[in-house]
Symmetry: C2
Subunit: 303 residues, 2 copies
Amino acid sequence: MEPADFSGAEEEPAFCNDLSDAQVTIVGLGLMGGSLAAALKAQNACRRVVGVARRTSTLQMARSMRFIDHGTRDLQAGLAQADLVILATPVRDILGKLATIGDDCKPGCVILDIGSTKARICAAMERMPPHIEPIGGHPMCGKETSGITMAEPNLYRDRVFVLAPLERTAPRAQDLARQMLEVIGARPLLIAPQRHDRLVAAISHLPYLLSVTCVSGAEALAQDDELVWRLAAGGFRDTSRVAAGSIPMMMDILLTNRGPVLEAIHHARERMTALEASLRAEEIEALETQLVAARNRRKEVFP
Amino acid sequence: MEPADFSGAEEEPAFCNDLSDAQVTIVGLGLMGGSLAAALKAQNACRRVVGVARRTSTLQMARSMRFIDHGTRDLQAGLAQADLVILATPVRDILGKLATIGDDCKPGCVILDIGSTKARICAAMERMPPHIEPIGGHPMCGKETSGITMAEPNLYRDRVFVLAPLERTAPRAQDLARQMLEVIGARPLLIAPQRHDRLVAAISHLPYLLSVTCVSGAEALAQDDELVWRLAAGGFRDTSRVAAGSIPMMMDILLTNRGPVLEAIHHARERMTALEASLRAEEIEALETQLVAARNRRKEVFP
C-alpha cells in the first residue's frame, strides 16, 4: 500500500479537468443542444453524454441517432453525476433553471449555458451556490428551423462561440469549456455580458426584427392585393428568412435584451429615415452614398 | 413559276412567328442578359443569338462560353436583323434606349425588356414607332452578384416572369415572348405595369432597403465597437444579402419607382413602430402576435 493513493481523497473531491473524463449533461435537446450532443458523440469527446428533455419522443430520437448515451426527463437525475452541464433551452427557461439547479449539481460542476443573451443569465449565475462553476456562453450559429430533427454535428464548426466567464469562474472551469469548444470546432471569443448583449442586439436581434418587418410590410400591401406573394423571389426569401425562426426563443431574446434592442431599433429607424429622405427628395448622391456604404461593409463582412 | 410564291412579298414583310426562326438580340450581357443568352443557346431555341455589350471582354467571354453566336459593341448593327430584342440593362438605360432604337429595328420586331420596374418603361414603349411590337417584362429572379461571369442557363427556371403587354402589343408579339419563357423554363404572369410596380416595391424593393438598414444599423454600433462584425452569423448574413447587390441597378429601381417605394417604406415604418411599442411596454401578447403572423406568412410563402 502506498500512502499517496488515498491521501486527502475524502476532503478534496476530484474535480474533472479533462473533457474526456467528463459526464456532460445537456439540458434541452433542440437544434442547438441536439447538435452539440451529436458533435460530442461523433468525436467521442467525453466519458458520457446525458440528455435531458421534456418529451420522451425527443429522448428516443436522440438515442436512436446516437447523440446521447443516456436520456432522462428527470432534470435532477440528469444533473446528479454531471461534470459539465450545458443549458440549451430558451433564455427565460435557463433563468428559471439557474435559480434552482445549483443544489442538484455536485461540487465543482461546471455550468455553461448557450442562451442568446448574457447579462441577465450571468447575473443569475452570480447568485448560484459557491460549489458550482458557472460560465456564460453563446454560439453564433443557428438555423431558422428548430428541433432535434434539424440537429447536425457540424453546426458549431468554424463558428464564433462567445464565452462570458464570471469573476468567480475558476480557470479550470473556463478550460473545460474551451476543451469542448475545441472538440466541436468552434472559435472561442471572450466578451463581457453587457457588451455581448449590445453587440448581438445590433448584429442578430435587429436583423430578426427587420426580417419580421419585411414580411409584415409586404402583408400591409397584401391586404389590397394578394398577388404580392406570387412575386416573392430571392430577395424576399433571404431577407425574411429569420422571421421564420422559433417564436419562444425570439420572445425570450427580445424580452431579456430590451434596452439594447430598443437602442438598435432607434439606429435602424434613423438610417431608414435618411434613406427615405434622400429618395423622396431625389438626392441621388446622398442615396447612392448610403447604398454603397452598406454594400461595401456587407462585402467586407462576408467576402 | 407559281404566282403564290411572291404574291404581296414586298407589301407584307414576313413577321417572325416562331422563336426557332428568330434572331434574338440581347442588349446587355450581365447576369440577367448573359443567363438568358446561355439558356437560349443551351436549348438551341432560336436561329441566332446576337449579344450587344459595351465591353469587348464581355463579348469575348460570351462567345467563348457559347452564350451567343455573334457579339457586337454596335447597338444599331446588333438590332438591324433582330426579330426579338431583349433589353437587359438597368432601368434608366432601357428608358434611354427605348427613346431611340425604334428606327434601328425592322418592321414587326418584338422588343421585350427585363427591367425591374414597369410603369415608366411601358410608358416609353407606348411612344415607340408603330412598326415596333413592344412588351414589358420582369423575371422574378437574380442574385446579389452581377456580371456575365455569374450567368447560368438555369437562372430563369421555375421562376415567375412578369409580362406586361401594352394595348398596342399584337398577339403574335406576346406569343413570341411566351415561347421564349417556355424555352427558358420561366412561368409567365400577366400584370399591368402600375400594379406590378406597387407589388415589387413591397416584395423586392422594400426588402432591399431593409437589408441596407440591417447593415447600416449595425454600422451605427460599430462606430463604438468594431467587434460587432465578429459576431455576424447566419441571421445577419441572410438579412443583409441583397444589400450587396448592384448599386446602379438598385438606384435605377428606386428612382423609377419612387412613389410605390415610399409607400412601402411607410408601411414598414408603421410595422416597426408597432413592434417597438410592444417591446418597450413589454406587451407580451401583442409582441408575440406580430411575430407569429410574420412567421406564419413566411412559412406559407416559402414552405
